[in-house]
Amino acid sequence: MSKRLRNILVPIIAILLGIIVGTIIMVASGYDAVAAYTALWNGAFGNIYYTGEVVRQVTPYILAGLAVAFAFRVGLFNIGVEGQFMVGWLASVWVGLAFHLPKFIHLPLAILASIIAGALWAFIPGLLKARFRIHEVIVTIMMNYVALYVTNYIIQHVITNNADRTPSIPDSASLRSPWLASITDFSRLHWGIVLAIICCFIMWFLLEKTTRGFELRAVGFNQHAAHYAGMSVNKNIILSMVISGAFAGLAGAMEGLGTFGYVATKAAFTGVGFNGIAVALLGANTALGVFFAALLFGALEVGALNMPLAAGVPNELVDIIIALIVFFVASSYLIRWFIERISKKGVK
């Protein structure tokens, strides 16, 4: 069986398997599976408003996925995307609120702030890894908690006077556009999706086409050989964390300058950064893969909101069905193995 054919077949089989097992579970517990999947589809694409919302939801997922994937390609597991995302969110809103500038300066400045904040937040674990070989997973997990409480503190005691959320940013720093809202029937779709797609391209170009990417990937595959070949392993480790953090910070700006327009104190993690891990793994850590994986995640997440109302399926079951689809897509290795076995028998 050709590799190409297999590449199409595997995700299709995965999604179908997820749907089939979900159907069995729903039928067994007495719910209408057709209605449920219809509600899922309609909740994501049945209406231009929902499609706009899907794209909006996909935007931070793409960037968070790119962040995880980028570090992964250099052999680092950046669990800290969540924290970098939160500081990026805060930084973008802070700059959005602190200045009164024309839009063509204000918006780029606020976006830049999120990128720098995320990059700095990731620089610390990168530096500790490069200098002292402290494992980045431990440092980034801790940095997530630091980010959660520091951002809460800054929101409550620096930006506002003991309020739960900041005021909304002015239009001059907003990624939203009345035009995008109008063509999608008031969805919160914003220009961030364009940035996210550009970032996919940047990641692909940087890794695949440049000498820097050649080094980064070499370090990811084999640090010893990279060192032998005269590449600076430490420099590339730090750089990869910084770039990864920059993507994560930018993902934060998508929420701060796009979806919400403000930043609120949080009782717990948002989950965007952690979903980024799943998106990256599902997308095989490539830019294009991350794009489609984010699309799947975003569509499932937004579409699923509609299932309890339109099909009467309880939330818990919805969660199970979504998890099943993701599970089967993620375990495509198993399907690949299966196809290989079957095709081998065929040759005999």
Binding site: R4, N7, I8, P11, I12, I15, V34, A35, Y37, T38, A39, L40, W41, N42, G43, F45, G46, N47, Y49, Y50, E53, Q57, Y149, N152, Q156, N162, A163, D164, R165, S168, F186, R188, E255, T259, F260, G261, Y262, A264, T265, K266, A267, A268, T270, G271, L288, F292, L295, E301, V302, A304, L305, N306, P308, L309, A310, G312, N315
Partner: protein, 369 residues
Amino acid sequence: MKKRKLGLALSLVLAAGTLLGACGKTTDNNNATNKGTKNAKPSFTVGMVTDVGGIDDKSFNQSAWKGLQEFGADNNMQKGTKGFDYLQSQSDADYSTNLNTLSRQGFSLVYGIGFMMQQAVDDIAKQQTKTKFAIIDAEVKEPNVASVLFKENEGSFLAGVVAGMVTKTNKIGFIGGMESAVIERFEAGFRAGVQAANPKATVDVQYAASFTSAEKGQAIASKMYSSGEDVIFAAAGGTGTGMFKEARDRKAKDPSKDFWTIGVDSDQTAEGVVTAGGKQVNVVLTSSMKRVDNAVKDISTKAMKGNFPGGQTTTYGLAEDGVGLAPLNDGMPNKDAIQKAVSDWQDKIKSGSVKVPATRAELKTFSAK
């Protein structure tokens, strides 16, 4: 190579699209018929959006859903798009989508449960001007939005009175979830109540910085009990379950000592049951209840009858039965005296002769009498 892969992926998405799209046709028709019937016979429908806690959070959302169910039962409505229903949010980003969905489904009145939804309700109310909205615990100044606030300070004042009269060590604890105006009302009212009933008692105020971390609640409660505090009030959502656990554990180990707790939002008596010294006791003195259910029923009824308080803020206090104290624990000492004191204060607050402070600043100038 790369181009080919892109093509593959696109065709995959399209294939999936047509597949699901084919299934989708039937519902589009259903929707159309739904709309048809609605146009033919406009009836009153009501929906609510919960935050991530969902309708079984033993607190806020649960109380609101209870109110909605009771309203439905009173008016012969069914759960579903033609009667009353709810949507649960999986993250902060979903509030807007869910409010929109309910509005687009044609619900006459849509509740946003919790101050976190303020911005979302504000935005959508401007877009969906035909739908009525109500927001709990926050204010939105739009003509189609009814804002609902509670005088949590009045309920927790009574809890403070109970705590002040029960304590033997004159040391009382308060655990707040996260700093916010709502929790500040709980804190100020509680401290005022303690001060009114027992001027010698001190209140140790701690914030957990979370509404969901039971571990933190337990850690804070443990420290409080260890330092001699014998009554703790947690206005901290799920964080408070940790306090109950700590109190139960300690009571089971040391039945002769007092480890009292006070619940919040709904009657949390069930959280306090523990077997200590061979008999069943309860460590929950009472709960400072926030009757979201009453408020939801009230606003829904008004809306159905055509006098929806759009653009207004309705504040529910003791007098409106919007806050209150759960029945007192039979196991507490001097129950009758305490019950009487609570009733007295309740009358004074209802009559307006005592004004309960709502902020720390007001607390400073508060004097009980």
